[in-house]
């Protein structure tokens, strides 16, 4: 489980979708006002493996140029193809062996990782337990985005020629799945230490074991990676995978439609119709854990009042939201934990049943108005929603919240912030004082149901990093702790579900919709992971020609 999905995606949105709001799809055919509904069973998690070699594939990164390729410090679609994790996340969100052939609990507080033998880094040096210990320790520092996965870890030690043992202060039901994300990514210890601060940057280097190796990085222009001929899982069929940085969504759309760029993830949903009518490639809709939501930023003001959040939730028509913001490429979602997060887990049926039992999202202005009246809040004080500048979908989201507020007599102001200004919200409490809500797009990069719940509901010292409204409910805290420290999947699920029944109505995040994972790929190419698992696993391993 990863706990910074929201921050990350929010940051990404802030830096990435620049200019989108100005000109999406204006260069293309008109977008229909009502988009065709999507049958969820038709979502595709991965395209069939390629069978034919291809010389070069150009991949567009709408997120822009990565700051670094260090898996401990950045999220980027480049990294999972270079630096692998101990376990490999599959497109359907199940977890399979990766650099580890086995990673299991041998007793309630001891977790043993057996490494795959014969794995080498790109330079031919063998993968050792020391590299694994080094890589995990890098993530086990408080500032790391993956620190939450390691909070219960006591020691990480080499216990054999191909074995690492992790000791815990308490059992941790989330640890194994977390190793399939970048929390379990392994880098070469010697090279990382030698590179120091430059590790992973354009002027430094990086050494990993993945199916592609870093060949060249020209700042501002491209990152070139080439097939790792000695990859333990077999060399990829794509000889050169070139990443180009296209932070302008419109430019990316046009370049994809013209075939100048072969593929990209996270293409603009607003361009759905031009993608669907393209004869150059196809738009693939995949399952995802991504969602759009907004939540309170402080413990005072109307935003901290659950009644006001419930009222705003009731005043927003979710079907309409999905149409307007996502062009139909998503679905309303009942709570912040997205169903795909547990799809591959052992207790999936329990979670699915509990989700089904949650009340449906309703659109009921009368009930909403009544809630606002009962709330006793001073309606003359405007509510401020912060969004990152240039993120088109979030700008629309804020406008929809504003319109919903107006219906209820609430004044909602939109505070569009530049990246540096927006990021500050996430680590500086003073920056949150002048706003009431922050609207974000977030995703979970590995299986697990506890990610959001822990961040939004627990006290800060127990991992409630984004519990800015100071939500506190002893029963919820207790059940979530039990869910985390119970290794039996069914018992852990029971505890989570018990907590969910209590916290769901409080809408610590007003979840507006889940968004599908969007991939555009040139005709003739195949073998790409098209689900949200692409954030964590080598999604281009099977990339090649049909």
């Amino acid at each position: 489980m990863r706990t910074t999905g929201i921050t990350t995606a929010a940051l990404a949105a802030g830096t990435v979708l620049l200019l989108l709001s100005g000109c999406t799809a204006r260069d293309a055919e008109p977008v229909p006002t009502s988009a065709a509904p999507v049958d969820e069973s038709s979502l595709v998690a991965a395209l069939p493996d390629a069978t034919t070699e291809v010389d070069e594939v150009t991949w567009g990164l709408v997120e822009g140029e990565p700051r670094t390729l260090d898996p401990a410090a950045e999220y980027s679609f480049v990294i999972p193809n270079l630096c692998e994790s101990l376990l490999q996340l599959q497109p359907d969100f199940t977890v399979e062996p990766g650099l580890a052939t086995s990673a299991e609990w041998v007793d309630p507080t001891t977790f043993v990782i057996d490494l795959r033998e014969g794995v080498t880094f790109w330079d031919g040096t063998p993968l050792t337990p020391a590299d694994v210990v080094f890589s995990m320790e890098r993530n086990r520092v408080e500032s790391s985005p993956w620190f939450p996965a390691f909070v219960l870890v006591d020691t990480i030690e080499q216990t054999g020629d191909h074995q690492v043992t992790v000791s815990f202060t308490a059992p941790d039901s989330t640890f194994r799945d977390a190793l399939s994300s970048a929390a379990g990514a392994v880098v070469n210890a010697a090279q990382a230490q030698q590179a120091g601060d430059a590790f992973g940057t354009a002027s430094g280097d990086i050494l990993c074991t993945g199916p592609y190796e870093l060949a060249d990085w020209t700042p501002g222009t491209e990152i070139v990676t080439t097939a790792n001929a000695d990859y333990w899982g077999g060399a990829p069929l794509t000889e050169t995978l070139r990443y180009v940085f296209v932070p302008d969504g419109t430019t990316l759309t046009t370049a994809l439609l013209e075939g100048e760029i072969d593929g990209a993830f996270n293409v603009a949903p607003g361009s759905r119709s031009v993608f669907e009518s393209s004869d150059e490639g196809r738009l693939v809709l995949g399952p995802s854990t991504a969602s759009f939501s907004f939540g309170p930023t402080r413990s005072t003001g109307a935003g901290a009042n659950p009644d006001i959040r419930r009222a705003l939730s009731l005043a927003i028509d979710r079907e309409q939201y999905v149409q307007t913001v996502l062009s139909g490429l998503g679905a309303p979602q009942k709570t912040f934990t997205p169903p795909f997060a547990w799809d591959g887990m052992e207790a999936a049926d329990q979670y699915t049943d509990a989700y089904a039992a949650l009340p449906d999202v309703e659109f009921d202005l009368e009930a909403a108005t009544a809630l606002v009246e009962e709330s006793g809040e001073d309606l003359s004080v405007p509510l401020v929603v912060a969004i990152p500048a240039g993120a088109k979908e979030l700008a629309q989201t804020a406008a929809i919240i504003q319109a919903a507020g107006a219906q209820l007599g609430l004044t909602v102001e939109i505070d569009e912030r530049q990246p540096a200004d927006f990021t500050e919200i996430f680590f500086d409490p003073a920056a949150r004082e002048s706003i009431d809500f922050v609207a974000t797009a977030g995703y979970l990069d590995s299986p697990g149901v506890l990610g959001y719940a822990q961040q939004f509901l627990l006290p800060p010292d127990l991992g409630g990093f984004f519990n800015w409204s100071e939500y506190s409910n002893e029963a919820v805290t207790g059940e979530l702790q039990v869910a985390r420290t119970t290794l039996d999947p069914a018992a852990s699920a029971d505890a989570f579900i018990a907590a969910q029944e209590v916290f769901a109505p409080d809408q610590l995040q007003v979840t507006l919709a889940g968004a599908y994972h969007l991939t555009f790929l040139n005709d003739g190419l195949t073998g790409v992971t098209t689900s949200v698992a692409a954030y964590s696993s080598p999604w281009a391993l099977h990339l090649g020609a049909e």
Partner: protein, 319 residues
């Protein structure tokens, strides 16, 4: 060389140093005044603890008074250390170097277009009769009204999507391929300035055509073409050159829009991105680079004017 020209050159150098100093102070303060904490640039994907934030602040002197921060930065620059990007953690030089070439090429391409079509259409308007004049006037009115990003969208739509003549994305590899890739971006940059320079040229040429010395030359029976070269265009050129210096420098700043629209990783797009992320060292260095270009190009234009028309250099005049 004319001593007055040399004196002019010396004054230009002095004013360059002063301009650089003043603008570096202004830019430094302006970046610090914008909302947002530079710490967020360092934070990136991580979640900095209060201790880490304090460490970052101390390491990069973010808690020092502004003037001390400025001295720190300026001291580095004077000793050849342009600083390290907050966001990319690489030397600013390493970030900028690979981008300079493409932006220079883009601007140079646009300059050629502006010079040829701007001056050309201005001369046509001034000398080829009423209909030509009206046509150029109309075209330049439209050209001046169109913002660069709108031109970019139009060009992409017509020449890339419908006709498929030019690529929509990237800067290309190798000189000819780069020229091919930069054609649409250069046109989108140039349109506004072509229109502007066309108007200036027309005005300058028309005023020369009606001047006394041209009338005299005409009466003396000197051939039209020769009158135009020696008397009209040469005398009109200082005015055109004076505008050109500022225009080219302005192009570097506006290039960000074309770079963004066509997915070109140049200086302009780096500057916009750095400003948004509060990457102070990068903003600072690129901005100063733009100031240098601005001042130097203006100085070159002034020197050129002084050579063509030494009388125009009056004592005490500076850039």
């Amino acid at each position: 060389m004319n001593p007055r020209v040399l004196a002019q050159l010396a004054r230009q150098l002095g004013s360059l140093a002063l301009t650089l100093f003043l603008s570096s102070v202004v830019i430094f303060c302006a970046v610090l005044l914008t909302p947002g904490d530079p710490v967020s640039a360092f934070a990136g994907g991580t979640r900095p603890t209060p201790d880490m934030i304090a460490a970052i602040r101390a390491e990069h002197h973010l808690d020092d008074p502004v003037w001390l921060q400025y001295l720190h930065w300026a001291g580095g620059v004077l000793t050849g250390d342009l600083g390290t990007s907050y966001v990319y953690r690489t030397d600013v030089v390493d970030l900028i170097a690979p981008r300079v070439g493409i932006t220079v090429l883009l601007v140079a391409y646009a300059v050629v277009l502006i010079a040829v079509f701007g001056v050309g259409s201005g001369i046509v308007a001034a000398t080829r009769g009423r209909i030509a004049d009206r046509a150029v006037l109309m075209a330049t009115s439209i050209g001046m009204a169109l913002p660069t990003f709108v031109v970019a969208i139009l060009l992409i739509w017509i020449f890339a999507r419908v006709l498929g003549w030019f690529p929509v994305y990237g800067a290309g590899e190798g000189f000819l391929d780069q020229l091919y890739h930069l054609t649409l971006p250069a046109i989108s940059l140039a349109v506004l300035y072509i229109a502007y320079l066309s108007r200036i040229t027309r005005g300058a040429v028309v005023s020369q055509l009606h001047s006394e010395h041209v009338e005299t030359a005409r009466v003396r029976g000197i051939p039209r073409a020769r009158i135009f070269r020696r008397h009209v265009f040469l005398n009109a050129s200082p005015q055109i050159l004076a505008v050109s210096g500022a225009t080219v420098a302005g192009l570097f700043a506006v290039s960000a829009i074309a770079e963004q629209a066509f997915g070109i990783g140049g200086l302009g797009s780096l500057l916009t991105e750095a400003a948004a992320r509060k990457d102070v060292p990068v903003v600072q260095v690129i901005s100063l680079l733009l100031v240098v270009v601005f001042v130097v190009l203006n100085a070159i234009a002034d020197v050129a004017i002084a050579i063509i028309d030494p009388d125009s250099v009056k004592p005490g005049r500076t850039a």
